[in-house]
Amino acid sequence: MKKSKLLMMALVLTMVFVLAACGKSSNNEASSSPSASAPATESTAPSESAEDEEVVPEAGAKLVVWYSASERALVDAAIAEFKGKYGIDVEYQDVGPDKSIEKMITDGPAGVGADVFLAVHDRLGSAVQAGVVLPNDLHEDVSKANNSAKSVDAFTIDGVLYGYPMSVETTAVFYNKDLVPNGEAPKTWDEVISFAKDFNNEKDSKYAYMWEAGNGYWSWGFFGGYGAYVFGDNGANASDIGLNNAGAVEAAKFFQSLKGQVLNINSGDIKGDIKTSLFTSGKLAMNVSGPWQTQEFKDGVANLGLMEFPTLPNGKAMMPFSGVKGFLVNANTQYPIAAKLFAELVSSEKYQVENFKDFGSLPSNTVVAESAEVSNDAFASVFLKQFDNSTPMPKISEMNAYWSTQEAALASLWNDNSDAQKTMDDWATKVKDAIASSQ
């Protein structure tokens, strides 16, 4: 066997690289924590002394904001105003509110998350549990005073307000005035059923009333209306599951009965795009959807109407899920003050008005909601009324267990006509198991 200098050189080269590699990794470790905490300490000092005076953003701050691309114009306007006011640049990135919290949980601690982002309140529990969002402390009073109690509540966990409420959303029934009898949509389920008997025609694929039956968001209205609840104490108590109480079973029976009477389609085949195309081509009379589709339907249906959900056979109103969108601030942001200022600015009255005008989003700000423009709007006023008659989606992190089980439970009720009591019992057990299995 021969030895050589070359072998040694190879070894030394290896070691040099190793030294470089680990030197770098330990540097990262050392430098990342102070850089994350240093601005925070810096920033607390001035604001502490200046209690109620104007808050000053960190010098040299640069922000990143996540928002959905289709409604980017709104945030662009806020960015321009913010730049003019504080001279701080804000970079826009396309991350929608439906997945922003998921992304923040992984990206935030890694230091690559946005400073400010829009989110729907139902995932707030997970975000707080993971510690990735800052409480709304600077503007707590303003946010509470300006926005509706329900929307503030949606962003509050354990008495701490986290979000800057922006808009509220719930579902209601769009209808085509040309297709419903006398241009008046049926107001109760009994009327819907008798209307469906005349109107439904499978051969021409004409349907009276359609919603995504196999989806726990769209079908919740029935269960909520009969007094079922996912978690007790207004969605805060995960050990109290109300999916198999007497009301829930009754709701399940009624829900099942609709398959034969109103909508004879398997749950897997009812898709949003199919529903939309049937509705806009005049084959669907009543279509359950949310405010985000108002504009699309206005364009597609000549005589469009909107009503609250039909009354249930027990005389009660349906209670659909509702969501609140709001801005959140990344806990790991380097510029917390600037980020909070931007969140406050973009969720302020002015931009909620814009948001309503441009995209039909329902304002959470009470002044905007009560303004003539919104309350006279044929669609927004109905949605806001329905919002008052809705259950905010529970926001505790255990809600995941509901989302992961709802599709199977509803499909089994809807498609297989399974025994209502047994299915609802199974569903409650599944939710309990899912919570236990993720511990």
Binding site: T44, Q129, E398, A434
Partner: protein
């Protein structure tokens, strides 16, 4: 002083480089000494906290402290980053241990050579490859080995939503508890066995149908009487050329019970149509059939290539002997095709076990079922794994499933590959 390999070896054990110094290879001795000192310094200095972090995975979580009106973030330990840095540090330590062993071996080998009175350092070209390999070796170590080690380690922690997501909450080592959960906790084990069974059935059916379907199509097109061969070839390759992201989503609409064109045709002929994607059984049939549509072209093209390599005189000889078409196929065509494609058959099988696209885009795992936890009737292990990580943040269970998939595929592929004739008789093609 008489050179002595044993003395050199022991000196190197005592301190790296000492043996080389004794062998009078001073430059080499200094190099080893530097590496040795640097190693000890690094391991006890900067690397020690990282290694400790790998053991503890953090002791305090991040939290807020209220200062006046403002909530101040008090940074804590981030278990997952600590794990990554810890694994990196451990790899560096392993490298130093290797260099230490190399140093002893070098001292002994050179010492022995000196004992025999040969030259001290015969520069050899055989060491040049070592130099070339040093950088790729590091690349592989830190970019291939490290992530695999890291992913596997996740399976031995409780890294899962909602209660163990850092930085607020720490992740802990739990040993084999995750695997215990997967095999023994009812909700997980029934899902795992159910999904695993379907994965295997799917992999076998998908591979067999595409393989023989492809051979059949290739043979048919290559028949003498067939006209417009180019047209047929093009027609069959098109499904493969369209991105699956487009074609599968369209398929999904075509297979819709009520509104899909397929069932409309059925209804036009007075038939009821089938619940393609709604019924567990028919959903499984649907994914296999759609997978044939995508997979057959691959085998077809492959087999067409192989068919051209079969010497024509074999068939002529068979004709002279009066063999029937079936006998020619059985005794000439099939052995040739099988020999050439057996390794590919295995990769297709393995690929089908992890066939994410077809399932995820066509059914998304649907129809949903009450039997499973976070999975539907047509979910494969890999799509279930996707849902577990991205939709439900159950990282530890997902990592455990990933390890099991890897073990299953690796053993299977090795055993099968070693049994193929292409492996045993690989000299036949040379």
């Amino acid at each position: 002083m008489k050179p002595n390999a044993t003395v050199a070896g022991w000196l190197s054990v005592l301190c790296a480089g000492l043996g080389q110094w004794y062998n009078r290879q001073y430059a080499k001795a200094v190099m080893f000494l530097i590496i040795h000192v640097a190693g000890i310094y690094l391991a006890l200095g900067p690397l020690l906290p990282q290694l400790k972090g790998l053991v503890t995975l953090g002791v305090k979580g991040q939290h807020f402290e209220k200062v006046g009106k403002i909530n101040k973030l008090v940074p804590g330990d981030h278990s997952v980053f600590m794990m990554i840095y810890g694994v990196l540090a451990a790899l560096v330590v392993v490298l130093f241990v290797l260099s230490y062993i190399l140093n002893i071996r070098d001292a002994v080998v050179v010492g022995r050579r000196l004992e025999q009175g040969r030259y001290r350092d015969a520069a050899s070209s055989s060491a040049f490859p070592w130099l070339l390999l040093a950088i790729p070796f590091l690349g592989v170590l830190f970019f291939t080995i490290m992530p695999i080690v890291f992913t596997s380690l996740i399976a031995f922690t409780n890294y899962a939503s909602p209660n163990h997501i850092p930085p607020k909450n720490l992740v802990d080592w739990v040993g084999f508890a995750t695997f215990d959960k997967l095999f023994n906790m009812n909700v997980w084990s029934s899902t795992f066995t159910g999904v695993l069974t379907w994965t295997i059935i799917w992999a076998i059916l998908a591979t067999v149908t595409c393989y023989f379907g492809g051979i059949l199509v290739a043979l048919l097109i290559n028949q003498k009487g067939i006209k417009f061969k180019g047209f047929w070839r093009m027609l069959f390759i098109i499904p493969y050329a369209i991105p699956q992201f487009v074609s599968l989503l369209i398929m999904r609409n075509i297979l819709n019970d009520k509104f899909g064109p397929l069932n409309s045709y059925f209804r036009a002929f007075g038939l009821n149509g089938l619940p393609w994607l709604n019924d567990p059984f028919w959903a499984k049939v649907s994914v296999i059939v759609v997978n044939m549509w995508i997979g057959i072209p691959v085998t077809m093209v492959l087999v067409m290539g192989i068919l051209t390599t079969i010497p024509n005189d074999l068939y002529e000889a068979a004709d002279v002997d009066g063999a029937s078409p079936w006998m020619k196929f059985r005794n000439i065509t099939m052995p040739y095709v099988l020999f050439a494609t057996a390794p590919i058959l295995i990769t297709q099988f393995v690929g089908n076990i992890n066939n994410f696209n077809v399932i995820y885009l066509l059914t998304g795992g649907a129809p949903a079922t009450m039997k499973y936890n976070n999975a539907g009737e047509t979910d494969l292990l890999v799509t279930w794994l996707y849902k577990l990580t991205l939709d439900f943040n159950q990282y530890n269970i997902a990592a455990a499933v990933a390890i099991l998939i890897f073990l299953f595929i690796a053993t299977f592929a090795i055993i099968l590959f070693r049994r193929t004739r292409s492996f045993k008789e690989e000299d036949m093609i040379q």
